[in-house]
């Protein structure tokens, strides 16, 4: 994993140094204008941090299983097994399938079992034993779980294309999963854990398909590895099951060359498999839709002018007071356009009247 990451980084460096234009460096060489080479290199990369909210839809089908429900719980068993008077099933198949206590397949509230007082609409009826063969009654459980993601990524933009890699941590808050059939007979599946954490490592590919004034619209695809932690027993997950794909649109509002506001809705495609002790398995799909917001910034390649009296608006060259060398500095703060056109950074448009109402000349 680390070796692969190192190879990718080296390739990116080579790509950056070859793709960035040579002509501008000629100017700096010609006039011996100093820029910190490390800062120049880092400036080519955009660092993004976002967070937001989403819903992860946990869904699984019990096709090929018997499903048994009584007042003590819910259990499944491979329906290729012949049923006898007992049911040696499994529970907690969402996260960590374990053999359950062998159940007796009796049917209380039939003859000759005891009668009920106040039998009509009696609550005990809801907890009567219910056995279903999913071949005759297809059954699945699903529900959308609130999800809080936190993303950190770095990418490189070349013309309209984007390439990068990132890391995302997600916390899924579990709810009960609703049955797809016989909702009046089958209780929802209650997970035996309140939340689960996901960690994702991924590569990013993107293409800017639209630009509107200060807005950029970038179609992005994330491909990588998503692994649940803790509550979901990953030792039972099948090999190669941790792959995920995320498709989304990154809407970026450009404050300046160094700072952007990012809003990113995206849809996640991922799943995992839980293997049961009897060599059967269940695939759990947990696709997600999330909307994240955050910032994306580039480390400025040149510093702000050190002279307080220097009111030059554009990037310009000064003589470094310490070294005596010519060096390029910027006249604007990081979140403002660095080489603004006349009046560009000074908001005099009517739509900024409310924002500038405290100024002497807000309009």
């Amino acid at each position: 994993m680390l070796k692969r990451l190192l190879v990718v980084c080296v390739m990116l460096c080579i790509a950056v140094t070859t793709l960035t234009g040579q002509s501008r460096e000629d100017i700096y060489e010609k006039y011996d204008i100093y820029r910190n080479p490390l800062m120049v290199f880092l400036n080519h990369f955009s660092w993004t941090v976002t967070s937001g909210y989403g819903l992860t839809n946990y869904k699984h089908s019990l096709e090929g299983f018997y499903f048994l429900q009584d007042n003590s719980g819910q259990y499944i068993l491979d329906n290729r097994q012949e049923l006898g008077p007992t049911f040696p099933g499994y529970q907690y198949w969402l996260s960590n399938a374990k053999p359950a206590e062998v159940l007796d397949l009796s049917e209380p509230l039939t003859v000759p079992y005891h009668s009920l007082d106040n039998p009509v609409n009696n609550e005990q009826l809801l907890y009567n034993q219910q056995l279903i063969n999913t071949d005759t009654l297809p059954l699945s459980f699903s529900n959308a779980m609130p999800t809080v993601p936190i993303l950190a990524s770095v990418h490189f933009d070349f013309r309209k294309y984007r390439i990068g890699f990132g890391f995302q941590h997600e916390k899924h808050y579990m709810r009960s999963l609703e049955p797809s059939a016989a909702q009046d007979l089958i209780r929802p599946y209650e997970p035996n854990f309140e939340s689960v954490n996901y960690r994702k490592w991924f590569g990013i590919l993107g293409y800017r398909f639209y630009r509107f004034w200060d807005w950029n619209f970038m179609a992005e695809v994330q491909l990588g590895h998503a692994k649940p932690r803790g509550e979901i027993n990953t030792t039972a997950v099948g090999i190669g099951q941790n792959f995920f794909v995320n498709a989304g649109v990154s809407m970026e509002y450009v404050f300046s060359e160094y700072l952007r506001l990012v809003i990113r809705p995206g849809y996640d495609f991922k799943s995992y498999v839980i293997n049961l002790p009897d060599a059967t398995s269940i695939r759990h799909s947990n696709r997600a839709f999330m909307v994240q917001a955050g910032i994306s910034f580039n480390i400025p390649e040149i510093p702000r002018t050190p002279y307080q009296s220097d009111h030059v608006q554009l990037k310009h060259v000064i003589t470094d007071p310490k070294s005596g060398r010519l060096r390029e500095v910027r006249g604007q703060r990081m979140w403002k356009r660095q080489n603004p056109k006349v009046g560009e950074n000074h908001r005099r448009l009517w739509r900024y009247k409310l924002k500038n109402r405290r100024k002497m000349h807000p309009y």
Binding site: E107, D117, V120, L125
Partner: protein, 323 residues
């Protein structure tokens, strides 16, 4: 910019069009049913005469009342005509039916629950008309004949009211007749004396297993049984039924009978309904019982045992595993 303006206008149009025009929230099925019932009573000129129960049921009496032998809390036999309000007839039960419908009022043993509630107003010999809203009838259940949220119209005639004691005594008499027919008391042919318990349960040992091993509380008991009514109609049987004796898992009369047996014995237990399924449950109309069992509204034994039916169990005690 123009695109954003169009987007904002579109969103506003969608939000406005989705708003309820008159500003009032949509009415629930119960509110609609109440309005329909009141409109029906007004059209029939019965609004002032009808009694409005707090559950939403409306009922009025046909003719004079007797004010004697109230149905409240008693076992009741009725004739009825059940239909959808201003709609099709669902079921009729009258003197042409071979068996009498008997059920217990006030014990959540009658479905729809609106019928149970309405019977509490009635007396022996009276005729009433009851209009039941969906919440006290079948709710959202629908079938070919019954639409969802149906309002029921029911004409009821109370033909019999009996207390629990009188029913019990009547069952004891029926059991006595049954025993005489079966000649269980003929000790010449059958040397094992019949045991008539004070509770009304009768046990007759048919075969002596030759052991002195009887069940104790909590012991795992395996037996075979054949369950019939007094008319010998079989309603349940099993060649190997396993349960824990003395823990109330099965009907009380069966437990009492097994307690009198030893391993290898065969015997017959006859019990009044009080020690069987007592008032069971009655679903009106009866052809909906299967559906109501499936919907977990009434227990499965209702399919096999009607209210107030004495039971006969022919038992063979196979083995006991004391714990």
């Amino acid at each position: 910019m123009r695109f954003i303006q169009y987007l904002i206008v579109s969103v506003i149009i969608v939000l406005v069009s989705c708003k309820n025009d008159d500003g009032t929230p949509p009415s629930s099925p119960d509110d609609q049913a109440s309005a329909s019932i009141i409109a029906y009573l007004d059209s029939m000129g019965l609004r002032d005469e009808a009694i409005a129960d707090s559950t939403g049921i409306y009922l009025y009496r046909d003719g004079d009342g007797t004010e004697e032998n109230s149905v409240l809390g008693q076992a009741v036999s009725v004739f009825y005509v059940l239909s959808i309000l201003a709609g099709d007839t669902l079921d009729i039960r009258d003197s042409t039916d071979s068996d009498t419908l008997i059920m217990k009022q006030g014990s959540s043993a009658i479905y729809p629950v609106g019928v149970d509630q309405a019977l509490g107003y009635m007396h022996l010999g009276e005729k009433w008309t009851v209009i039941i809203p969906p919440s006290m009838a079948y709710g959202d259940f629908s079938s070919e004949a019954i639409p969802a949220y149906a309002i029921l119209h029911m004409d009821i005639e109370v033909i019999g009211v009996a207390s629990e004691d009188s029913i019990f005594n009547k069952e004891l008499a029926q059991i006595e007749v049954y025993l005489q027919e079966k000649e269980y008391e003929d000790t010449i042919n059958d040397p094992h004396p019949m045991e008539k318990l004070a509770s009304g349960i009768v046990y007759q040992r048919m075969v002596d297993g030759g052991t002195d091993v009887g069940p104790t509380a909590g012991s795992e008991t395996i037996l075979s049984y054949r369950a019939t009514f007094l008319d010998d109609q079989v309603f349940s049987a099993s060649s190997s039924f396993q349960y824990n004796y003395g823990e109330g898992e099965e009907v009380a009369g069966l437990d009492v009978g097994v307690g009198l047996m030893n391993v290898g014995d065969s015997g017959v237990v006859v019990m009044p309904s009080k020690f069987g399924y007592h008032s069971s449950a009655a679903v009106i109309p009866g052809y909906l019982t299967d559906e109501m069992v499936l919907r977990k509204i009434v227990p499965p034994y209702v399919l096999d045992v009607d209210p107030y039916r004495p039971l006969v169990f022919e038992i063979g005690l196979k083995s006991i595993q004391n714990q």
